[in-house]
Amino acid sequence: MKTENWNFITDLLLDDSFISNVTDSSLSRQYVEVLKKEYPDKKKEIEIALSIIKGIKIEDKSSSIKYKQAIWDRIKEKAALTNKNRRKSITLFIGIAATVLLIIGLGISSVFYFTDNEKIEQYALKLSSGISTPGLILSDGQQLSIQGEQPTITYSEDGSKLIIDGSLKVQKTAPREDAYNQLIAPYGKTITLTLSDGTRVWVSSGSRLIYPPSFNRKVREIYLDGEAYFEVASVKNKPFIVKTEKMDTRVLGTKFYVQAYAKENKYSTLLLEGKVMLSEKKGKSNHEVALKPGQQGYVNQNQNDIRINEVDNPENKISWIHGYFRLENERLDQLLDRIAKYYDIKITLPESLTPIVISGKLDLKENPETVLNDIAVLANLELTQEEKKYFFKKMK
């Protein structure tokens, strides 16, 4: 028996066209016949090479399309998830870089502005276009009206409970960091508010105060639109900031009186005890001004910077928190201005009467007419009224 030419078998097995034609089962038989005709003396070698390739080739199993789809879905899911995480870390990195830049840009004196909560101002802005009826709105959306002669609101330490005019209320949702309460004092009333940190705030009539039910952040921030007197409880390393549209007052623990009237572009802070730092936000200088007790800092309307006034009897300026105005040579026009704000009324005074000064104690009653009548008697003036408008005239 003649032995096969193994060199020829090897050549066939290494030949790419032989491999591709033979491994394709539809062509293999036909191809082999053609090849046999071409090499008639190598028929056996061709047959053996064909057998080897057939025997070597593993039959591929094909998986079901469902199985493939399930794995592909997992791939897409995992890729999307990984991609998200990558993006997140990139954003975070950019965020950190921006923070560093901003701090460098602002300078050290303004670092405290870069608190982790700028939201209170955004929240205030959002609300100022919304509800403006007097009352208290809790972080879970509850709306409470405020009654009584001298309303008081007191928060529990965690901010979840509050006592309003002697009755207990509970905020349904646990206080979140971004949840705020909004208080709008009714006209003709001053609300005595005790915040969760023990800080006492006398919110003047018609004023709006926004604050978190509990101070969970590094900085205690509240927002004021109107006027309020503060006795800030001292909490170590946790400054208290009264934000207003134009001016911020930053303290650690002290007594001060803030007026912020956007409509009149009037912003001032009067310090009674301790130390506060003032900063004007819209101007270019952006530096802090320290106040001493008895000083009143205010925003100069033209220059957008902060000026300081010495106030003789600062206690008199905050006497309204006790339900009266303590007046000591107070100019009539300035007094009437305060009263008009307090009761949300319009008072007209002839120019000739502005130099009149008044001293004494003026009780702030619910009815502005009584208060104005008292003034009329005190200053020997005549008072007339048309709806919410009041006119002073010289006695005839």
């Binding site: 290494l14 056996k44 593993i58 998986s63 794995i71 990984t82």
Partner: protein, 191 residues
Amino acid sequence: MSSIKKDKKNKLTLNKYADELASIYYAQFDALYNYGKRFTSDNFLIEDAIQNVFVNLMLDSNHEKINNIRSYILVSFRNELIRLINKSRKHDMLDQVKEFEFILEYSEDENFEDEELKILKKILNNYLLKNTTSRQQEIIYLKYNLGLTYEEISKILKITIESCRTLMYRTIKRMASDPELLKKLRFWKEY
């Protein structure tokens, strides 16, 4: 602003590429799965390796630079599967001494309708198990089953194209000249 634009651009390319990848995935799945079966009988490891390869491709933004996607996928699949196998073996102290093997064997339950084919496979299987290394078995698989070029094989086996040719030539020459094998094949053929 520029970073946002860049992000959007990346996202677009990623999505566009995802569609292309899907068709590659469905076309290559069986080949990868069967190739993986030569390394391990653990289906979960094979699934995981396929999954990881395509997840990485989806996230890779440099995909345009890959000229031969098929061999790229095969190479990364092989690397990933070996990594997973070694990882799973680490937990098994008894198996730790075992070296990685490319096992070219036919399962008994494989139901061949063709009696001729069944006998051929048994003959070749016995020969390969007795006379070849796992590396030789793998190159045979890559050549005859996957029909790869030497260039592609060289990337997978991490040797030069010349070394591939030499390895292949030696393996085939020895097989084609093996008297035992030829005798069996001839006997069966003549019968």
